[in-house]
Structures are given as structure tokens and as C-alpha cells.
């Protein structure tokens, strides 16, 4: 199996799905002639031409709404936000139109739309460019929210997202574009709504997503050297939430740590913690712990930003409390 980057895996998914279905097109800022701000769409213009790989002006509201309208008409648009932080400019279109039109029309109009782009902090680009908005969008009924952590899932989930008949928020992670791993060639679909057990272990469970899965994985390796064995679950899809996989694990390990880059108030981990205490109260040997970003805007300074992110040091401190 070839080893490729997360970026190349996404590119493969786009290319294969565009090859497969003429109704799929890619639109966004710098996706065509520039080959993508993060080079995810490298070579696609050359391959599919300007009708299907379209450079948009800097008009997130305009091109998001346009894509929703095109989806109502039966096309399957993929739009790229240079970063999900810029999706805020299109928030009304995403929330009021992409997510509500099907329901408001009594099911008459479907929105087979993928909104994708980079997200997350850690690159010292300041407060306006570092958002991790999966919880904001997961709060909206009818939106599917996907946050792949590994190259194979990036490919398999993007292919599934493009084939979905519903609006999908697909949040890539800026820090992972260069991450390499084995990715199957050709047809490879990862199911939406299924978590991945990254590492098995019996001492406690970690649930995480996207970049936080890699932070958690580093902590898990540190703990292994100390003889502590964590089970690491990467959610992959935030919504719909795969509660069954979490429940199966927590009912064995009896302890849960959540690691997420969302800010603490109403991050997705708060919902998971609520459901775990409600459904598995008698199984828990300790309170559910969360390591999140700190409740402050993202600072530019690297030292400060590392303190804000759910770093390994804070993860290990939380594990100590969890196992105490």
C-alpha cells in the first residue's frame, strides 16, 4: 500500500470522485490556477478543466450560497474554504440555507454539498485564522461534521462525503496536510458516523479527533513506557456521533478522558461527557475529564499558543487525576 500525505489523500479522493461523477465540481478561492492555498487541489484544473475546477472571488457568502443553490438543482458541489475560519463570513448560508432548506421544504429539496478546508490552531496565525469550529456546526441539525485525523480516513471520508446526499462540513487540519501514512489505492470508502479505535488498551479510554488525536497518541506512547495502557478512539465523525463505540470501550475501562481542540464551553466533548454520565453512570470509576483549548482567543506568540492548545503536558496531568 502506498504511503502518501494527508494532502495527497484528499487530492486522490477529489480526483476519483470527479472522475466518477460529472455533477461534482470544485469551487473556492485559489483552487484552480494556484492549485489550492494548501495544494489540496493540485493538478485538478489541468485534469478537469475550468468548468469543473473554479476559482471564486473572495466571496464566501456568495459562493457558498451559489453552491447550495446548485445542489438544490441536482449538482454535487465541493467548495473549499481556505480555512474554516473564513466560513464565518458565510455562516448565514451554511446554517440557514444548507442546513434548513430540506426541512423547511418538507423534504422536497436535498443539498448534496461538501464544504471543506483547513482548520485548527498551532501555526501561529492568530485569533482570526485558528478556529476549530466543529462544535459550532455540529450544533446545527442536519449538518454532518467530519474531522479526519489520518490520511486513509481523509481519503475514505471525503469520498463518502461527496457521495452523501446531504450537506457535510469536512474539517481538515492544517497541521496534518504533510502527515504521511499508508492509504489504499482506488475505491476506498470510510463510513460516515463510525469511530476508529486507534489503539486498544484496558486502563482508560481517550476520545479525541483531528489534530487532538495525534496529541493524544503522543501521550499514549509516553504512558505506555510507564506501563499504563490507554484505549484511543478517534471519532472521525463528530456528527452523527458514534456513541456505541465510546460506550463499549468505557464500559470496559470505566474511565474516560476527552481531548479536543474546541474551547471548553459546549465543545463536542461536553456532549460526549453528558451522554456517558447519563448512559454509563454505574460503569464510571471516576469523573469524565476533558482537556480542551483554553477559554481565550488564540494568541499569536508560539509559547502562548502551545499553552492554549490541549498539549501533551495537560493531557498527562489529566490522566494522573483520572487514574488517581
Amino acid at each position: 500500500m502506498p504511503t502518501i500525505t494527508y494532502r495527497e489523500a484528499l487530492n486522490q479522493a477529489l480526483s476519483e470522485e470527479m472522475e466518477r461523477d460529472d455533477k461534482v465540481f470544485l469551487m473556492g478561492e485559489e483552487v484552480a490556477e494556484y492549485n489550492g492555498a494548501y495544494k489540496v487541489s493540485q493538478g485538478l484544473l489541468e485534469k478537469f478543466g475550468p468548468k469543473r475546477v473554479i476559482d471564486s472571488p473572495i466571496s464566501e457568502t456568495g459562493f457558498t450560497g451559489l453552491a447550495i443553490g446548485a445542489a438544490m438543482y441536482g449538482l454535487r458541489p465541493v467548495i473549499e474554504y481556505m480555512t474554516w475560519s473564513f466560513s464565518l463570513v458565510a455562516y448565514d448560508q451554511i446554517v440557514n440555507n444548507a442546513a434548513q432548506v430540506r426541512y423547511m421544504s418538507g423534504g422536497q429539496f436535498s443539498i448534496p454539498l461538501v464544504m471543506r478546508g483547513s482548520s485548527g490552531g498551532g501555526l501561529q496565525v492568530g485569533a482570526t485564522h485558528s478556529h476549530t469550529p466543529e462544535n459550532w456546526y455540529a450544533n446545527v441539525p442536519a449538518l454532518t461534521v467530519i474531522t479526519p485525523a489520518f490520511p486513509d480516513d481523509a481519503k475514505g471520508l471525503l469520498k463518502s462525503a461527496i457521495r452523501s446526499n446531504n450537506p457535510v462540513c469536512f474539517l481538515e487540519n492544517e497541521k496534518l496536510y504533510g502527515y504521511k501514512d499508508e492509504v489504499p489505492e482506488g475505491e476506498y470508502l470510510t463510513p460516515i458516523g463510525k469511530a476508529r479505535v486507534v489503539k486498544s488498551g484496558g486502563d482508560f479510554t481517550i476520545v479525541s479527533n483531528s489534530g487532538s488525536t495525534h496529541r493524544a497518541l503522543n501521550a499514549v506512547k509516553t504512558l505506555e513506557a510507564q506501563g499504563i495502557h490507554a484505549e484511543l478512539i478517534d471519532l472521525r465523525t463528530i456528527k452523527p456521533l458514534d456513541f456505541d463505540t465510546i460506550a463499549e470501550s468505557v464500559s470496559r475501562t470505566n474511565r474516560l478522558l476527552i481531548v479536543e481542540e474546541n474551547k471548553p464551553f459546549a465543545g463536542w466533548g461536553a456532549q460526549v461527557a453528558y451522554e456517558v454520565q447519563k448512559e454509563l453512570f454505574d460503569d464510571l470509576d471516576a469523573p469524565v475529564y476533558r482537556v480542551t483549548s483554553l477559554d481565550v482567543p488564540q494568541p499569536y506568540n508560539g509559547r502562548l499558543e502551545q499553552a492554549v492548545l490541549p498539549n501533551e503536558e495537560r493531557i498527562l496531568a489529566a490522566v494522573k487525576d483520572l487514574l488517581a
Binding site: 456568495g62 450560497g65 447550495i68 443553490g69 423547511m104 418538507g106 422536497q108 446526499n165 470508502l189 456521533l241
Partner: protein, 352 residues
Amino acid sequence: MRAADPDVKNSKNHQSTRLPDLQPQEKIALFRKMLLIRRFEEKAKQAFTQAKIKGFCHLYNGQEAVAVGTISVLNDDDAVITAYRDHGHALARGVDPNACMAELFGKITGCSRGKGGSMHFFDAKKHFYGGHGIVGGQIPLGTGLAFAQKYLDTNRVTLAYMGDGAINQGAVHESMNLAALWKLPIIYIIENNEYSMGTTIARSSAGDPLTKRAGAFDMAAIQANGMDIDDVRAKTFEAVSLARTESQPTLMEIKTYRYFGHSMSDPGTYRKKDEIEQRKKSDPIEIYKARLIEQKVTTAENLEALDAEVTAEAQAAYDFAESSPEPEIETVFEDIWAPEDQIFEFRPEPRR
């Protein structure tokens, strides 16, 4: 086509074929449709005061010639999308009045299964894409419909309506830029009724006329008198021809006037009763009625009989809505997601 601004360039190649003359029966049909909208809205007003219709209810009285005139020059498979004052457009597009009234009553037989309400009428079969509640938010969607029409090589066009208040939303300007840039077959129609809610156009919009906004995008622009359905039809036909034959967008401003408040809950303190009475003297239905009689298309008696007919139709819609069942509670979980047919479908129980 006349440009409202010297900077607005019209396509040199455009040969507008003349709007075909209407047969007498077609003229009567236009009159009937305008009158149906008026009688329907009167019934809706009555039902609202009886508390059978809840929420917001924006009536179309006074603006009938705009929806009926513009839509009358479309083909059946062209697309229509509008804002929240949508009853008139839906009826003009041929959406069943019973389903429209039932939607206002929130019934399962409504055109959006009771989930949309007054502001969110939809009918896929009639190529009616809503009914949208956020001012200007439907304009990017309409632009996307036109994008898809072009992408799929359909030779169809889109009419995207907005009020004069919407013209100051960024979404509208972004859309016009995209449509001009990518030559999309769309007609943006401003229904200028002079008030964005309670704020006069003079207090909300710099630059007169509003069609000047098209100039920045080198987009064709045209104005029409919304109280004269023949003028509305002639101007819309030019714009539709430009869209269909050359895939070029147009910004239309149609001057009109609404007789009732912004919505049913509007006390109307921002304008005098005299103003409304004065404006009713150029009522689009009365003007057309006089013209039909003058042209000897029909007689006053015939048109009165027609009025009785559409009044009965509006009453029938009211009766249908009232006697229709409420939606079952389980339907609250329906229509959220389209069924998947290409991938594994995972839908856990709704979270509570």
C-alpha cells in the same frame, strides 16, 4: 434594453424578439391570477386575525402585477426563487392555493408539510425554490440555480426576487458579481415597494435608481412600472431573452407598492393612510381591468363573475386548510436528511 446608468453596457449582439401578443383568453388568465392572489391574501388576513395563522405573515396586496407579470413570460421549467413575501410568487407559479393556505395554517397538506410557514413556501414540481426568510439570503441560492442551469446546459433561466431592503445586503452584491463574471442566466428582480419594513427607501439606500447598482458589474439593468402588468411583461421578456439567448444576467427594478403593513404585526405608523389611499388609485388590478374592458377583451360583468369565482376559490382554500389534519408528532423527525443511496447510512436515534 435601456441601461439605467451610462456605464451599463448592453450586449451588442442581443436581438430581442418581440413579446408575442396575448390572446384574449390569456389576458383574462393574467387578470384572474392577479385577482386570485388578492382574494387569497384577503382570506389569509382574515385567518390571521382569527389566529388560525400564526407567526409572521407578509401580504402581497398591491404587488400582484409583479409576480404575475414576470412569471408569465417564463417557461414552465424555468426557476423561481424569492424572499419571505412569497404567497404571490407561489400562486403565480401555479402552486395549488389549497396547499399554500394549508401551509399558512401549518397543516400536513401544506406545500412545505407545515414546516415552512408563510415565509417558506416550496414546490419542486413547479420549479419554485422558495420562500426564504433572511433578507437577501436567497439571492446567492438563485445564482446557484442559474449556475446549475448553465452547467447542465438546460437553456433555462432563473428569476430571483428581493425587496428594496435586500439590495443593501452583501450577499446580493457578491451574487451580482458572480453572475456577471460567469455570465449566468439570471434576472435579479428588485420589487421596490418603497419600504424596507418601516424604513423608506430614502432613508435606507444611497443612489437612485437602484438599477445603478448593476453598473459596477457591467450588468444590464432595466426598470419597470409594477402597477402595469403589460410593462412588467415587456421588460421582463427582454431580460429573459438576454439570459436565454446570451446567458447574461440583468438587474430589474420594478416599482410597486404594498397596501398592508410589512407583516400582519406592523402597526404602520411610518406612513399616512392618505398615502395608501392615493396609491390605490393606480391599483394594478383596476388598471388592467379597465384596459381589458377598453380593449373589448371582455365585459365588466364577465370580470365580476370571474371575481366571484376566485373569491370562491380562496374560500375553498381556507376551508381545505381548516379541515386538513395537523401533522403527526412523528413528522418532526422527517425531512431532515435525504436518504443515502451511494454510501452506508448511519443515523442514530435523534439526541434528546
